[in-house]
Amino acid sequence: MDFLLQTILSYLLVYKYLVLFLVTFFAALALPIPSAATLMASAAFAAQGYFDLSLVIITASLGNILGDNLCYWLARTFGPSVLRKLGFKKYLDSPVLLSFERHINRRPGIIILLSRVEVIATISVNLLAGLGKMPYRKYLLYDCIGEVLQVCMYASLGYLFGSQWQEANSIIGKVFLAMTFGGMIFAIFLWKKISKRVSRQKRS
């Protein structure tokens, strides 16, 4: 078990739900914090009776939802101006990015729901939803549903596997590493496909 996770678990045992909230909140803001492992550990402690499972689910869901919403509003409010100042105007106004935003706005539900499972996908979709000014009510609805489902999934695994949560976590870690790698290749493939389509549309 790595040093960061050990440190988080120590504070988790002392400060309980406050630490769980902070970990899930900051992980939703793209900080490299092991929030899935922390959530599974909390649920495992709940299986042992040391924590309350319903409070674990509520706290982690709240942390994730608030983090996602902050990401969305930062992207929506400051995203375009910050990206322009950093010299990314060309990408901001690119037809490819606009095409991505249109896709997300056309099918927000399934895209937001599925992206909650993997952290890079979650952050990317939050940022694109904010930059593309997706209607906030729609975004909030699907984000809440997606995050509660995601939290319930990890919490269930931690609760069901109890003291063996570390082993369950290492298996899940390998699966999600493979998914992240696969997702990145898929994203590059999708970007190239959309770029080609946009170039063809421009020529015609």
Binding site: V14, L114, G162, E167, A168
Partner: protein, 130 residues
């Protein structure tokens, strides 16, 4: 009035809720089967046995006691009297029992592995004496 709004909202987004339930069940089933399968492969047992073994070992064993745990957690897990570890190991931290085992060892300038061994012996002795 607010309940009416909520009912209307749910009715208008019925498709979203149904999709969410289905996606949620798929996530949960895939996650559970995937992890149980991974454990079964690792331990070279059948899928159902991997889960049953995990459920049987609900609480940690003495060997699994680690430095990141707190004395309060250990007292709860092993059903120790609150002051037992404090008296047995002469712990003089004012934050006891909400203090990390490895943190206490470092603060008291005690060698971590030796302190862990003493801690495990103390827990084991209490269990044997009961």
């Amino acid at each position: 009035m607010q309940l009416q709004h909520l009912k209307t909202f749910i009715r208008e987004n019925k498709k979203a809720f149904i999709t969410s339930v289905i996606v949620g069940l798929i996530f949960l089933t895939t996650g559970f089967v995937g992890v149980a399968h991974g454990m079964a492969v690792k331990k070279k047992v059948r899928l159902s046995h991997a889960y049953v073994q995990a459920r049987q070992q609900e609480k940690i064993t003495v060997d699994e006691v680690s430095g990141w745990m707190t004395f309060d957690y250990l007292n709860y897990t092993f059903k120790l009297p609150p002051e037992y570890l404090k008296e047995t190991l002469h712990i003089n931290s004012p934050k006891y029992p909400n203090v990390q085992v490895a943190g206490y060892a470092k603060q008291s300038r005690i060698e971590k592995s030796a302190f862990l061994e003493s801690l495990k012996s103390a827990i084991q002795n209490y269990g044997d004496a009961r």
